[in-house]
Symmetry: C2
Subunit: 136 residues, 2 copies
């Protein structure tokens, strides 16, 4: 059930150095057996969330504040309101990204069409060359 640092590194295709760095930044807190880090399944989930955050362009700092949203019981009224604002900001951000992705996907479709057309043209040109050389 527990993982070594290289277990996680291999599974998620990151370096042990990166994982240690996330810990240094306060995003992970694995147990230790002596000096050696021992990662629990929940540490593993955390790492997963960190990497998902990275894929969405979040800084490690942002991911860290997102983690705090998982435990709202520890906050006073003021902190809870800040949390709600944070959630709203992230929602807006995600909605913007969602829109960006959809538009870009359409553009990729168009780009693919243009490329395919250009390849076809190049292909037929090459065919002509081949025909010509075959004819010669």
């Amino acid at each position: 059930m527990p993982y070594s640092i290289s277990d996680l590194a291999k599974e998620f295709d990151v370096t042990p150095r990166a994982i240690r760095f996330y810990e240094e930044q306060g995003l992970l807190n694995p147990e230790r057996r002596g000096q050696t880090r021992i990662y629990s399944p929940s540490d593993r989930v955390r790492l997963k969330l960190i990497l998902r955050g990275k894929r969405l362009g979040f800084t490690l700092e942002e991911s860290r504040t997102l983690f705090e949203l998982y435990d709202p019981s520890s906050g006073n009224r003021r902190q809870l309101e800040t949390m709600l604002e944070t959630i709203d900001r992230h929602r807006t951000h995600l909605a913007q990204q969602l829109h960006d992705i959809q538009v870009m996907m359409l553009e990729l479709d168009e780009a693919e069409t243009r490329c395919a057309r250009a390849l076809e043209a190049a292909g037929s040109a090459e065919n002509n060359k081949n025909i010509a050389s075959t004819e010669g």
Copy 2:
């Protein structure tokens, strides 16, 4: 119809320094009147695309290669095939992000619920205090 650097800077909420940097990296090529940069509407669109790329976590380098996809006529067969691969990579990437966003939106909903509950609890506690102090 043309824009100054500060026009664009204001419109897109970036610094002139950033815009000059994008040019330095080969992403923009505005005309000049003397030394002064003059941006056309298409330069403006380019800047927009750069910033959209940034929102999706692309490096400037990646955005630059994406721009090249807009003009496939200038490529030979080998380059066109590379372009198609690039398009496919980006599609996969965007699909992953799309998924990440959807999952995270659900998680934000849950987090909001937890926060609201915690606030409610804190609120009723405060009410009790108020009642107690009103009662005293």
